[in-house]
Structures are given as structure tokens and as C-alpha cells.
């Protein structure tokens, strides 16, 4: 229970998306519905974890001067592999994510964790870090896409990406009260701004509490 609490606290305090503003390009672009968010989140989770494992295992033989090119090659290879797998097995996700799938390469979270964590820690710790950060990213994407999908479409639904059958669908807002603008770029920026402000407010509150103590 305590670890779960710690995990949730870390999710808010060191959130890669809303706290550190990493990887926001794809966050803003693909969070129009829950399917895309989960697809993108899981792809990043897999690339991040494997790249952390690989970079951590070669950290002692990588010369310091060329470490960034080495990391980029590792990440690019993994991204391409994921892209080809998704094209083959989940074509609907591929169609929805489009060019944002290869752009995982330049997602700052992955290179950031490689440089800041995996290059200095052992394989086991790096694996956990990759899973942790990837999960935080997926949950942030999911939170944002749930808000946008409910406000814009009035329904919350999830499809199985491999055979596009409906898993569940809940109608929440009747058709005449839907706010279509949340599907547009302006809705993406607004949702992100309010979520980031919420996270900042929580951080400020906990910081104040720590000061009082």
C-alpha cells in the first residue's frame, strides 16, 4: 500500500509530462481519444524500457564523447522496430498515430532518461526506471485523452487495437452539450494548461507543507 502511495505521489511530483514538460509534442497531438493515447503510451513504454536496458548494459564500453549518437542510434532502431510491428499487427493505431510514431525518436523523455539515468545505473534499476517513467507517461496521456474525448465526443470508449472490436463504451454527455473545440488544437492546449496548472498547484501545496514542518 505504501509503495502504491509513493508511486502516486511520484506520479504527481515528478510527472514527466505535466511537471517536467518532456515529450509534449505527441501528448498534445494524439490525445483526441483513449485508443490513441494507450497506443502511443504503450509504444513509448516499450521503447523506453528496452532502450534503458540496452544503454545501461553498454554504459561501460561507450566512449563519453560519442554517447549521444550511440543513444540516438539505439533509440531509432527500437522505434523503427516498434513502428513496423504496429504497422503489421495494429494497422488502426498506425493510421491514427501517423507520423507521430516515428517521431518517438525525438521524444525527449527517452533520450532524457538514457542520459540522466540509464547511463549511470545498473540494468535492473534502469529497467524499473523505464517502466516507471513509461507508465507515468501512459497515464498522463490517458488522463488528457479522457478529458478531451468526454468533452468533445460525449462518450468514453476503448477499442481492441489488434482487431478493432469495441471493449467498452459509455455515453456521458448528451449530443447537444458537447464541446467540439476540444478535438481541435485549441482544446489540446487548454486541457494541457489546466492539467499542468493543477499539478503545479499540488506541488506548491506539498512544498508549503514541508516548509511548515
Amino acid at each position: 500500500m505504501k509503495t502504491l502511495g509513493n508511486f502516486l505521489l511520484n506520479l504527481l511530483k515528478e510527472n514527466p509530462v505535466f511537471g517536467l514538460y518532456l515529450g509534449i509534442c505527441s501528448t498534445l497531438a494524439i490525445t483526441t481519444n483513449l485508443d490513441n493515447a494507450i497506443g502511443m503510451g504503450v509504444s513509448v513504454l516499450i521503447v523506453l524500457t528496452i532502450s534503458n536496458i540496452m544503454i545501461s548494459s553498454i554504459r561501460k564500453i561507450t566512449p563519453d564523447e560519442i554517447r549521444i549518437p550511440v543513444y540516438i542510434i539505439v533509440i531509432a532502431t527500437l522505434t523503427k522496430a516498434i513502428e513496423l510491428l504496429i504497422k503489421a499487427f495494429a494497422p488502426t493505431i498506425d493510421a491514427a498515430l501517423g507520423v507521430y510514431l516515428p517521431l518517438i525518436v525525438v521524444n525527449c523523455i527517452i533520450l532524457g532518461r538514457a542520459e540522466a539515468y540509464a547511463s549511470k545505473n545498473n540494468i535492473w534499476k534502469s529497467t524499473l526506471d523505464g517502466l516507471n517513467m513509461g507508465l507515468a507517461y501512459t497515464l498522463s496521456l490517458a488522463a488528457m485523452s479522457i478529458i478531451r474525448q468526454i468533452l468533445a465526443d460525449g462518450v468514453l470508449s476503448l477499442n481492441n487495437p489488434f482487431n478493432s472490436t469495441l471493449i467498452f463504451e459509455i455515453n456521458i454527455i448528451p449530443a447537444e452539450y458537447r464541446i467540439a473545440i476540444f478535438k481541435e488544437p485549441i482544446g489540446a492546449f487548454l486541457t494541457f494548461a489546466f492539467l499542468a496548472a493543477g499539478v503545479a498547484a499540488i506541488q506548491n501545496a506539498t512544498a508549503k507543507k514541508a516548509e511548515v514542518k
Partner: protein, 191 residues
Amino acid sequence: MAGLITLFISNVVISNVVLTKFLGMCPLLGVSRKSSSAVGMGLAVIFVIVGASIFTWTLYYTVLVPLNLQYMDLITFILVIAAFVQFVEMFLKKYSPALYKALGIYLPLITTNCVVLFVTLDNIIQGFDFVHMLVYSTAVPTGFMLVLYIFSTIRERLDQSNIPNAFKGNPIALIVAALMAAIFTSFAGLV
């Protein structure tokens, strides 16, 4: 010719890379605090994107396609971009120290700017010929620079305003971006 002008204008203002495709958000939030650095960053990005596009487009059609290695595009492109940025940095340092001083700090940041990789990949996806590719890869970073500059001037003003605590810094900047996105969508009737 008319087609090329349409392509240029629609990519600078209507389907602006920052406000409709959300690319280049990191420099937008990171570098846009001063308008002078916004212009420097914008110019550096235009230069790198045009150069990298010419390089990757030629490489794709003269090497990768004849050898049936199209699936290697991502890995080659990111390497070309990283090498090109490094090369430009060294070249400027040696031959134009003044320009290097002006652009120097922004150059390494450009490798991880998603706009560069996006443009090089999109040139191939859209199937552009050489001239269209040149126009497209000039238009997209020009749009980026335009938004970066407008954004930086607004942020300079924002520094003086009274903002709720939780919104200080990036959240208020994102709200500004939302309003700018709303304005830029109304350009859609232009072409």
C-alpha cells in the same frame, strides 16, 4: 507556380507546424522568453531544415530506394540530421565566429527539435519532387519562426502581469498558445 505559392502560404500560416501539428513545443516553451533569442533560434532552424531536407531527400532517392532499404529511413535521417548539425556548428565556428556567437547555443538543441525530423520524413511521405520539397522545407520552419517570435513578444509582456500562482511559467504560456491556435485556424479561408 501558383501551386508552389499556395503550398508555401498554407504551411506558414494555415497548417502551422507548431499550432496545428504541435511540433517544436520544447523550444517554444524553452527559448521563447526573449524575442532576440527567438529570432536566432528561428533562423538556425530554417537553415538546418533546408540543408537536412536536401541531404535526406537526395539520399533517400539515390541510395535507399535503388537498394530497397526504405525501412532504414528513420535511422539514416536522424544520423544525417545529427551529423549535419554538428558539421554546421564546426563550420560556423571556424569561418564565421560572429554568426556562431549568435546561433551557437541553439545549434545543439536543434538535433532534438522534432520539426527537423518531421519535415525530412514528411518530404518522403508526401512524395514531393525536388522543387516542392525545397518550398515545403522553407515554409514549415518559417511558420515555426513566425509563431516563436509572436509568442516571445507576448511572453515578455506576460512577465509583467499578475498571474495566479499555479499558472506561472508554462501553463499560462500554453493558454496563450491556445488563443494563438484559435486565431491561426481562422486563416483557413485564405487559400
